[in-house]
């Protein structure tokens, strides 16, 4: 410890200077000072080691002589501003990554993995005296790593909310959110939307015959096949619950909805998953109800969905493995054959 009482004023000043020099040399951050002519007048040990340069190589040079990649860089212009205007600058890691070729060790240098840097450019001296620019470089690699982990975790958390864990298609919650947005868009732009309700035929029988594990696998396969039949990025297929799925097709009219639902039917059929307890076919099939139209003001998600649900009910009543369409409150087969008053035969679910 140094005490002012123990030594004369002059030697105290001298030792203070010496101490300052030691601190600059040994500090575990990068310190670099440029003079008014933008020539390097200080280059500390931490920086010399990270840059793999000798202090002597650096002194008296311009920043861009030492690091040519800094030509016309934000760091270079920040230095000029600090010397000319006296304004400090902060260069965040997020916006600049690693402006200087600094490496933690030989291994990292070979692999080209730079130290993540936060840089502060601080003008020194003021008024009429000489002006200097101090560049202070902190290693923020640890903070960056920690933050990336945090972001990954948050993403994973969000993913779990968006994606149905069993089948890999979207979750019902996400589907509902997106549907609200799409219906609003459709109403504003007067565009049609189609909704499909899909049910795996006689799935209870399948579970009984093959067991729950096989049942889960079957659901995942069907979901994947159905999802692959939706081609546009805004089309969304979600698991609604149990063996029921819903799809939302924005900007899709009746013809489009027919094409897509037929494609879904085929793509599930192509899987040819054996189903010995089905009286529909020897393999797993699906039934679909489609509701299609221009959502009017006040026509909620629930109303459109219940139309699709009624159409699905009719599809099942008519022998399954088929698509029934609801349009303007009437029900039709995919070949446009109207169904006479099917609601009268409908039993309450």
């Amino acid at each position: 410890m140094m005490s002012k009482d123990s030594i004369s004023d002059e030697s105290f000043e001298t030792s203070k200077l010496h101490l300052a020099e030691l601190v600059v040399r040994e500090a575990q951050i990068g310190l670099l000072v440029l003079d008014q002519n933008e020539l390097i007048v200080l280059f500390n040990d931490w920086l010399a080691k990270a840059a793999n340069l000798d202090e002597k190589e650096a002194l008296g040079k311009e920043l861009t002589q030492l690091f040519p990649e800094l030509k016309e860089s934000r760091l270079q212009s920040a230095v000029t501003t600090s010397l000319q205007m006296g304004f400090p600058a902060l260069l965040s890691q997020s916006l600049n990554r690693a402006p200087l070729p600094l490496f933690a060790g030989e291994e990292e240098r070979k692999m080209g993995i730079r130290i993540e840097q936060q840089i502060q450019v601080i003008p020194l001296g003021s008024g009429d005296g000489p002006r200097f620019s101090l560049i202070q470089i902190s290693n923020v690699s640890v903070a960056v790593k920690r933050e990336n982990m945090l972001l990954e975790q948050a993403k994973e958390l969000k993913r779990n909310l968006i994606i149905d864990g069993l089948t890999g298609v979207y979750s019902r919650r996400y589907w509902e959110e997106q549907t609200l947005i799409e219906l609003r868009k459709a109403r504003r732009a007067c565009l049609p939307v189609a909704m499909i309700m899909l049910d795996v035929d006689l799935f209870k029988n399948y579970n009984d015959a093959y067991g729950h594990q096989e049942g889960d696998l079957c659901l995942a396969l069907v979901a994947k096949a159905a999802a692959s039949a939706l081609k546009r990025p805004r089309d969304i297929l979600a698991r609604y619950g149990g063996e029921e799925f819903v799809a939302l097709l924005p900007e899709t009219d009746l013809e489009g909805a027919k094409v897509v639902s037929k494609r879904v039917l085929q793509s599930v059929e192509t899987l040819q998953i054996p189903h010995k307890q089905s009286n529909v076919a020897a393999y797993v099939t699906v039934s679909m109800g489609v509701s299609c139209g221009y959502p009017s003001e006040g026509e909620s998600q629930e109303i459109i969905l219940s139309e699709a649900d009624q159409a699905l009910y009719i599809a099942k009543a008519m022998g399954r493995n088929q698509v029934i369409i609801c349009k303007n409150k009437g029900f039709f087969t995919v070949d446009d054959i109207p169904l006479s008053n099917p609601l009268a035969e409908r039993k309450h679910r």
Partner: protein, 203 residues
């Protein structure tokens, strides 16, 4: 109340306008979007009174502030509503994050954006006054605008000068503010400099 004459007020606004224009250009370059500028307002008020004039309606805002000391001293602040600063920074950084508050790194990036905008703003003002400002490092603050803008006003009845410009970015529906706050006697030094500026043109 401390009031400038019409010409002084006019000159001061024009000088700030030039800074604000440069600031908007810097912000527009970073967000690749035009920044619509309101006509700036300039008021002399007591701090207690000024609080009522601050934007934000008591909602949480994020501000980046720097103090500039020179021909006059001022606290310069760039501020956005909290949820919009999330949007703006994540747009600039190109990250798709769902966290509801700014991470440490994002705060730092926002500080840098504020730093670029505020430096761009004050540089031409220094040029016009042919003088220098000493500036502090940008500082991130979040809270109500009263908290973010809070100056060192020991006595609340001291007069402050408050200049506000609204910045609007339509694509992102972002509304932010640039604010400059000075207290007496810095205001008097400012007006002395403004008078010198005016006399150069009206001699």
């Amino acid at each position: 109340m401390f009031i400038l004459n019409e010409l002084q007020q006019d000159a001061l606004l024009e000088i700030f306008n030039i800074g604000v224009g440069k600031a908007a250009a810097a912000l527009s370059k970073m967000t690749s979007e035009e920044v619509l500028l309101s006509v700036p307002t300039l008021e002399f008020l007591e701090w207690e009174e000024a609080k009522a004039h601050l934007p934000g309606n008591g909602k949480v805002i994020c501000g980046i502030s720097q103090r500039f000391d020179g021909p006059f001293n001022t606290e310069a602040v760039l501020m956005f509503p909290e949820e919009k600063s999330l949007e703006i920074i994540r747009y600039i950084l190109g990250v798709d994050s769902t966290l509801e508050s700014l991470t440490e790194m994002e705060q730092e990036a926002l500080c840098e954006i504020g730093n670029i905008v505020l430096n761009a703003c004050m540089a031409p003002i220094a040029d016009i006054f042919s003088a220098e400002f000493r500036a502090t490092m940008p500082e991130y603050r979040s809270g109500t605008s009263e908290h973010v803008l809070s100056v060192d006003v020991e006595e609340t009845n001291r007069v402050i000068m408050l200049m506000l410009v609204k910045l609007q970015m339509e694509k992102h529906e972002i509304e932010g503010y640039l604010a400059f706050l000075s207290v007496l006697p810095d205001i008097q030094r400012l007006t002395a400099n403004v008078d010198r500026f005016i006399s150069e043109f009206t001699k």
